[in-house]
Amino acid sequence: MTPRIFVAVMLVLVTTLAAGQTQVVSETYSPSRTADGQPDLQGVWQALNTAAWDIQDHSAQLGVPAGQGVVEGTEIPYQSWALVQRQQNFEDRATADPETKCYMPGVPRVTYMPYPFQILQFRDHVLILYEYAHVTRTIYTDGSSHPEGHIDSWMGDSRGRWEGDTLVVDVVHFNDQTWFDRAGNFHSEALHVVERYTPTGPDHMNYEVTIEDPKVFTRSWQMSMPLYRRQEVRIQLLEYECYAYAERDNEGVR
C-alpha cells in the first residue's frame, strides 16, 4: 500500500467511524481527496443515456433514440389522477413541456439533459454549474438546514452531507412547473428529492435519486444511472442560453 493510498484509506475509515456509521467500506475504489479531505468529485461530467427524452423504457421515434428506463422497477407509482395527467402531458408535450419554454429544468432533470455540468468543491459547500441555461446549484454541506417554507423555486434548496465517499443531497422547495423528462412525467411543489453521488472510478460516478411527492405518487421511487467524466483535455463549459435563442425567434412572446 503506497503512503498516498494508505492516507486515503485512513481518511475514509476515520471519517466513517467519526460519523457514527458502522458499515464496512467495501468499495474497491477510493477517490482522491480535496485539500479539505472530501472525496474529490470535481470536474466536468455528463450523463449518457436517453432519460432526457423519457426516464422510462421507450421505443425510438423520429428524433428520439430508443432507451431503457432509469427508473428502478420500471413503473412510476402515480396516483390514479396523476396517471391521467401524465398521459395528457405526453399528448401535449410538444408545447406543454417546460423545456420548450426554456425554464430552469429542476432536479434531477438538469443532471441528465444532454449538456455538461461542472462540480466544484469548497470547504462548506459543493457548487454545480450547468451549461444548460447557466443554471447553478449551491449545495451547502455546513450542516445547515433548509430555510423554512414553503419557498417556490425552480431548482429547489439543496443541503448536502458526505456519507463515506457519497455526496448525499436533500432538495426541497420546488415549484410545480418542471417535469422529469420530455415524456410528461411530472411532480408537484411537494417534491422531495434525495440525490446520491458516489464515485465508482476516477471517471465515473453512480447517480441515484429518490423521489418523494405525496401529492402525485403513492410511494417514493428511485432512478439510477452512471455519470461520466468528459475526457476532452480542454473541456470547459460553454453557453446554452436557451431563452436568448428562443426570444430571437419569437419576438419575446411566449
Binding site: 476515520v14 471519517t15 467519526a18 460519523a19 457514527g20 485539500a35 479539505d36 479531505g37 419554454k101 426554456c102 425554464y103 430552469m104 461542472q118 466544484l120 468543491q121 469548497f122 470547504r123 462548506d124 457548487l127 454549474l129 441555461a133 447557466h134 443554471v135 447553478t136 449551491t138 451547502y140 454541506t141 455546513d142 450542516g143 445547515s144 438546514s145 423555486s153 425552480w154 431548482m155 452531507r161 458526505w162 456519507e163 436533500d170 480542454r234 470547459q236 463549459l237 460553454l238 453557453e239 442560453e241 431563452y243 436568448a244 426570444e247 430571437r248 419576438e251 419575446g252 412572446v253 411566449r254
Partner: protein
Amino acid sequence: MYGWLIGSLRLRISAMTAVVALVLLATPVAAQVSASESTPVNLLRTLGGHPDMQGYWDGGPANASHSIEEGCCDPIHAKMQKRGADRLGLREPLIVDPPDGWIPYQAWAAAQRTEHLYDMETPTKLQHIDPEDRCLLLGAPRSNYRGDLQILQNPGYVVILYEWAHAYRVIPTDGGRHVGEDIHMYNGDSRGHWEQDTLVVDVTNFNDQIWLDSHGSFYSEDLRVVERWTLVDADTISYEATLEDPTVFTRPWKIAFTIGRIKQDSYEFFEEACSEGVTNEHRLAAGRMAVASGERRIHSHEEQK
C-alpha cells in the same frame, strides 16, 4: 435530525483538519508574505498564497448599470423608485480614461448609439430593448456593476457567481488559452492569472448582443476586456477594466470602481429566476404604436424635467 448530527460531527472534523492544515502551512505562507515588500501583510490568503477574495460582495456603484457615463435617472423614474438625490447620477465617474468620462466611439458607432437611445424609448424590435430587461447574461464588465456577486477560489480557478439571473463565470488561472475564435458567448471566455496580488482576467470571445448599460452602450465581437481585481483591504476590492474594440472605439478606455464586502452573517443568494417570468410584449406593442403615429423619441434624462 440524524442528518443534522452527522453534519455537526463532520463540521467539527473539518475544523480539526483545518487547524492541522493551518499549522502545517503557516510557516511557508508567512515567509512568502514577508518576502514581498509591496504586499500588505494583513491580507488573508488562500492555501495557494493568493489574496483571499472569497465571500459575498455588493457589486459596483449604484446607477452605473443604467448609464456608465451619466448614471441614473430621469426625475419621473427617480420618483417612481423613491430615489433620493444621492441615488441620481453617478457619485463619481466610472470611466476614468479618457478623462472626460465618455466612451470614445468611432463616428459610425456614436451614430449607432444614438439610434439605440431612440429605439430603447420606442422599441419596435426585441433587440431595441436593453438586454438586461430581457434577462440575458450581461458579460464582463457589466455583470460586475449589476448587483451582488460571490467570489470563490480554488487552486487552478476563480469562480464568480452573480445573483443577477444566476449568472456565473469560471475563470481558469492555469495558463490555458482561450477557446477558438469562432466561439462567441454572452459572458465571453475568461482566463486569469495573478500579477503579484492582482487577479488579471483576460476576456474575449464575446458576442455582439449585449450592452454595457441601459443607454445602449455597445461593442462588437472584437471586444477584449482586461480586468484587474485587487484586494486593497479585507473588505474592499479595487476593480479596473480596460475595454478594447477596434471595430467600435477609437482607442482603449478604462473604467474603475471599488466593490465592498457584504458582511451579513449566513448570507445566501436567492434563486433569481428572470427569463422564466419576463415578457416584453407590451413594451413592443407600445413602441410600435408610438412609431406608427410618428412619435419616435430619444431616451433622455433632460426632457421630462
